[in-house]
């Protein structure tokens, strides 16, 4: 299986094709519903963002609490389509890749193609399995959101499938 590392090189992104299985290593950020709302409000108000969006990879995930002695709890993907309304703006601001589960809107697909990004899916409903690929986790913003806070994750060989590629191809047709 092909291995890729962060930050994702533009040529690497362009070479990815729908249906390709990959193992990702490097830095990713968790962000889901409320974070997307806050980031969007901050962008619209021209305020500083708590993370650098340029070249970033966002993982739609809100893990459980971290058990004693572990790096992270169960940490699978949440439904990506809930983030659709916010995604084109984030892609325009430099976001390069998203990891989640399920289909995306036409608008997101078009924005991925326009900004040369990529949408990955990972094993859905498999949070205990995916926890093994996370090597460290740290809250970096919006801690008041609890499990929805932004976490900076260091991952090693995190399993991905290319679901929408930079050429506009989609695994869901």
């Amino acid at each position: 299986m092909k291995k890729i590392n962060t930050p994702l090189d533009l040529n690497v992104i362009k070479s990815l094709r729908v249906g390709q299985e990959l193992l990702l290593s490097g830095t990713i950020y968790t962000a889901r519903d409320q974070v997307h709302k806050r980031l969007t409000e901050a962008i619209k108000a021209s305020k500083a963002l708590p993370i650098e969006l340029k070249s970033a990879i966002i993982y739609y995930c809100g893990p459980t609490q971290t058990p004693k002695g572990q790096v992270i709890g169960s940490c699978g993907p949440t439904t990506s389509s809930r983030m659709d309304a916010f995604t084109p703006l984030l892609l325009a601001k430099g976001l390069k890749a998203m990891i989640g589960k399920g289909s995306r809107s036409k608008e997101v697909k078009a924005a991925i193609q326009k900004h040369k990004g990529v949408y990955f899916v990972t094993y859905a409903g498999c949070g205990a399995l995916l926890a093994k690929s996370v090597k460290s986790a740290k809250v970096v913003a919006y801690s008041d959101l609890g499990p929805e806070a932004i976490l900076k994750l260091e991952v090693k060989d995190f399993p991905l499938i290319v679901a929408i590629d930079a050429n506009g191809g989609s695994i869901y047709g």
């Binding site: 809100g62 859905a124 409903g125 959101l145 929805e148």
Partner: protein, 273 residues
């Protein structure tokens, strides 16, 4: 009159939380194994293997099967000849909170749905029923919301055909598509009122997956699996593991049908005290 201390109920609920969250139901596991055995497509096999590996990891590492440890739903059957010493509802919510904290589950509950801050572990939703006898049966169903979001209700005309009802149920699964972690278990409530049909649809998820199904359930299972959505929506012959229907008498003017979808991580546990 038999008596039971509320503290005993709290303790039992704490254990139910652990049981349901770490150990996938044995009937769900066998259904997933059967699906894996018959799937031929590469993606379906990869996904089902990941799901089975995940269940094994959760069990071994004492990690939640899914990070969405659900909105805690409790079905409580209270024998009419038993007296609870203390407050039953408080005792159950205390058990939920203790269990979620102790086993490092997720605080996914927002007190004010319109002002979404400070997620907590409770309160749970309780459905109570009065039954014969002197026992209390508590069933815990942590319902993940990726799939709960795909629930549907339709108030049919009383003259509606079975075909129209089937079409609605199949369409609800197609609408969920790849988003809510297929292969699904589909709970359907037919009859009663709008609210009661919803409760029946959810209760239907508690029924053990087995070959003993009605003709309507078998027909729906076959037709839904023909959609080809497949495990995690990447194609395959297993879109649903089971279709379970509950019915109740209804009014001459109506025909409520509710569909409650569960992801493959269908978790529940029961205790009788």
């Amino acid at each position: 009159m038999k008596k039971i201390e509320a503290v005993k109920i709290t303790k039992a609920v704490t254990e139910l939380v652990k049981q349901a969250s770490f150990f996938l139901r044995s009937d769900v596991l066998s259904a997933l194994r059967k699906s894996y055995a018959v799937e031929k497509s590469k993606w379906a096999r990869t996904m089902l293997k990941a799901i089975l590996d995940n269940a094994a990891s959760a069990r071994k590492e004492k990690l939640a099967i899914c990070q969405d440890t659900g909105l805690p739903v409790m079905f409580i059957q209270i024998g009419q000849d038993i007296v609870v010493h203390g407050n039953l509802k408080v005792a159950i919510n205390k058990g939920v909170e203790q269990g979620y904290k102790k086993y490092y589950l997720r605080n996914s509950i927002i007190s004010d749905p319109l002002n979404r801050v400070k997620p907590r572990f409770s309160p749970c939703i309780m459905h109570t029923d009065i039954v014969k006898g002197n026992k209390i049966k508590i069933t815990f169903l942590p319902k993940g919301f990726g799939c709960e979001n795909k629930s549907q209700l339709k108030m049919f005309q009383p003259t509606a055909s079975i075909g129209e009802i089937k079409e609605f149920i199949i369409k609800a699964v197609k609408d969920a598509g790849p988003d809510a972690c297929p292969p699904y278990v589909i709970g359907v409530g037919i009859g009663g009122t709008a609210d009661y049909a919803g409760i029946m649809a959810k209760k239907a998820l508690l029924r053990k997956i087995s070959p003993n199904n009605s003709k309507l359930e078998k027909d729906l299972l076959r037709q839904i699996n023909k959609t080809g959505i497949g495990p995690m929506g990447l194609g395959g012959i297993n879109t649903v593991l089971a279709v379970h229907i509950q019915m109740y008498p209804t009014h001459i003017a109506g025909l409520p049908v509710s569909v409650n979808i569960s992801c493959h991580a269908l978790r529940s546990a029961s205790v009788t005290l």
